[in-house]
Symmetry: C2
Subunit: 441 residues, 2 copies
């Protein structure tokens, strides 16, 4: 009978542990990222999860033949770490022996050791598990991790509860044509476009809730900013005094997260030369006013006063960058027609809603707003839109049995990452994008 | 132009802030959980996210009529906190005035203020957003949150990277009949049963990865332990020296998480009278030996040496509880026939695999094991099983281009919560269960 007692100290060292073992024989594992022959010696670059390690091969000092090594092999190197200011991290490992853990069977199809992968997006996605072995490529997904971590940690501290809502359902929050449909044991079902109805129902239980999970949209858009499946950072908050509370909360999340990235992901920020966006004060401007400002300054005619075109978003972003040096801007009071049934109309002008989008460098990364909490108002709005109450019974009952004033928002994780990194296609910051043509791998 | 500058200090206080304002007039918001008339006075119990607050109504001291209040209303109470040892938290609030934020339109269908909801599981699920307003019911989901938090925090510290893999795909890890199928822009698609292939591919990039996300299984089981959609806590780890590393890692996660629950979720543990399971040392026993031990002690005939029936799992759990006072037990070396193609066979006896399940009080809560990392071995095993390489191209290429020895595991979140809380049906610890009959809300 064996007993498991927890994680044991590994025999091999990680990069951060080498400094404490200078001049001593140590073991380090990793993948051979590249081999550079320099005449008498060779550099064997080891790729580890936290960076690269330069290992030096000298035939006189090593007990193996360099020919035994191959790029992309997984190995365990025994050697002695020494100071070397020109090596990454200021340390290089003088190789003594190598144990091969596994060998590739074919040569690499991409030069992953290059600084920038000189490859099309299409090719990178077709070989995702290889192209991401490039340290700069993979760094984008570490930064993405940091954003999610920031979201959760900030909200935990603000008293939010994390929930897990179902992705298969009989109906979805907004209905309509952009739903993926499936057969659920001979019953028609859909994939959720958003956890909207669930997170609202849970406000009556936990006051404040969040979820970080996939959402599904069968939209036939084929643009650089659309995905048919993406990760949504969703929250819903009760007892708000107005929808401004939600914008303040999101500002707080962004401030917290930028600090976290600066602190814990400095390496990745440096790989991309990223200057983090300013979040100390984020302007908030009405929808109609934002359109006017952009139209006036850039001489663009307003074609539809109730719609915001992507090009207008870009100009609004440009306007606030130029006038206020702002990277983010909240656009408030979206037209009621453009918002779903549960959005709270502005009592002062019901053609507009108490809602907002957040633009980051001219691209929408968040949609949010106050929701209707009064059951009568909700029923009236459903009726006015000619919508059925069918399938909404438990949602509507939640309001019959009392609900506090509340609101929430949803952040597109891949889009926010894209804007932060400065990529121009959301597929660049999606691990395995799903779009009109891409369903594999 | 307005500027958002971050979260402002709220005008209302939370429960933990009252102690610093004893004897002063303060504002507190919440839902009226129940009203208890006691003759001259009345207790108005306020439900907040972090507990209950007893408010005292005395007609002489309050500036409103008690009749204006209703159970389930959302309110803001102005009053003075005073010490009262018999009140929850040792504080009660002497009410001065009340502002109604919202009113219910019908009386509550359940007596949520009871200690135990005297209601069937079916009724609780049919009124989920109401039944969870019972503080004991909702506490289960706070504990669930703690488990997920423990999983992530522990793995971050162990150098794991969080990933988000797609849930819609052209094929899934294990294929077979238990797949939900959908139409993806006129192409056949499935919902992922597990992130298996993706997390393995990402081991070549990040060495160690994890994901906490929904998985989908179209299994026609209608039991107390099956769900058709559940939250899977998944991890995959490179450079392992054997599959024991994975069991050590899971033991470490459990130890970390039990401490976290004890520290941060003591209130919820107390509501359920939970004694946390022991995790200091977890026995690991071979599959065939475990069957023998249970058969010998409880006089049960072994019907099929290559299968483990649920009743046998219960007896094995009982055996290790009685003999070793163990709440968890690892069952190792599952038969190869019972494991998917990517499982690493035991070189000493290829009828078995280097794999394990973890039982908690006699119920499987984890499946894990070492995976094949050699491309040739993988291709041979696919061929031996008569499986096609179609749709696995990028997965198989990942191995052609080199992969370290690795393995991983997946934990069923709802099951682990169920065993921890001591519930007897996994639907009790699932926010909105999906099963053969339940697709709504």
């Amino acid at each position: 009978m064996d007993f498991m007692t927890g994680v044991k100290k590994a025999r091999t060292l990680e990069l951060g542990e080498l400094q404490a073992h200078m001049g001593q024989e140590v073991c380090v594992n990793g993948a051979i990222h590249t081999i550079r022959h320099m005449g008498e010696i060779a550099f064997v670059i080891l790729r580890k999860r936290d960076g690269l390690l330069q290992c030096v091969y000298e035939s006189g000092r090593a007990e193996f033949d360099l020919k035994d090594l191959k790029e992309a092999a997984a190995v365990e190197v025994t050697g002695v770490p020494e100071e070397e200011s020109r090596a990454p991290g200021g340390i290089e490992l003088c190789m003594r022996s190598v144990k091969i853990l596994s060998m590739p069977s074919v040569p690499m199809p991409l030069q992953i050791s290059r600084w920038k992968l000189d490859t099309s997006l299409e090719a990178k996605l077709n070989m995702r598990s290889i192209s991401l072995r490039n340290v700069r490529e993979r760094a984008k997904f570490k930064l993405q991790e940091g954003i999610v971590k920031g979201f959760r940690d900030f909200l935990y501290a603000e008293g939010f509860t994390e929930i897990h809502t179902p992705k298969i359902g009989a109906r979805s929050a907004e209905g309509g044509s952009n739903l993926f449909r499936l057969d659920y044991f001979h019953r028609p079902a859909v994939l959720q476009q958003s956890p909207q109805l669930y997170k609202q129902m849970m406000v009556g239980v936990f006051d404040r809730v969040f979820e970080t999970a996939p959402v599904f949209r069968a939209e036939k858009h084929n643009t650089r900013r659309h995905l048919n499946e993406y990760t949504s950072l969703d929250l819903e908050m009760g007892y708000i005094s107005g929808f401004e509370d939600l914008m303040d909360l999101e500002t707080g999340f962004l401030q917290y997260t930028m600090e976290l990235l600066q602190r814990e992901y400095a390496k990745e920020l440096k790989l991309w030369g990223i200057t983090l966006p300013k979040t100390d004060r984020i302007p908030a401007v009405r929808f109609d006013r934002a359109k006017e400002l952009a139209a006036e300054k850039y001489g663009r005619r307003i074609r539809n006063p109730f719609d915001l075109e992507p090009e207008e978003e870009v100009l609004i972003g440009q306007y606030f960058k130029e006038e206020y040096d702002a990277d983010f801007v909240f656009i408030t009071h979206y037209p009621s027609k453009k918002r779903p049934f549960y959005a709270m109309d502005d009592p002062e002008d019901p053609r507009y809603t108490l809602s907002f989008d957040l633009l980051c460098h001219g691209l929408e990364v968040t949609t949010g707003g106050q929701r209707i909490h009064d059951c009568r108002m909700l029923l009236d709005k459903l009726a006015a839109r000619g919508m059925s109450e069918e399938g909404l019974e438990q949602y509507l009952d939640t309001f019959r049995y009392g609900m506090p004033p509340h609101g929430g928002l949803g952040i597109g994780l891949e889009r926010l990452t894209m804007q932060l990194v400065g990529e121009d296609n959301v597929r660049e910051t999606t691990l395995y994008p799903r779009d009109l043509s891409r369903l594999e791998p």
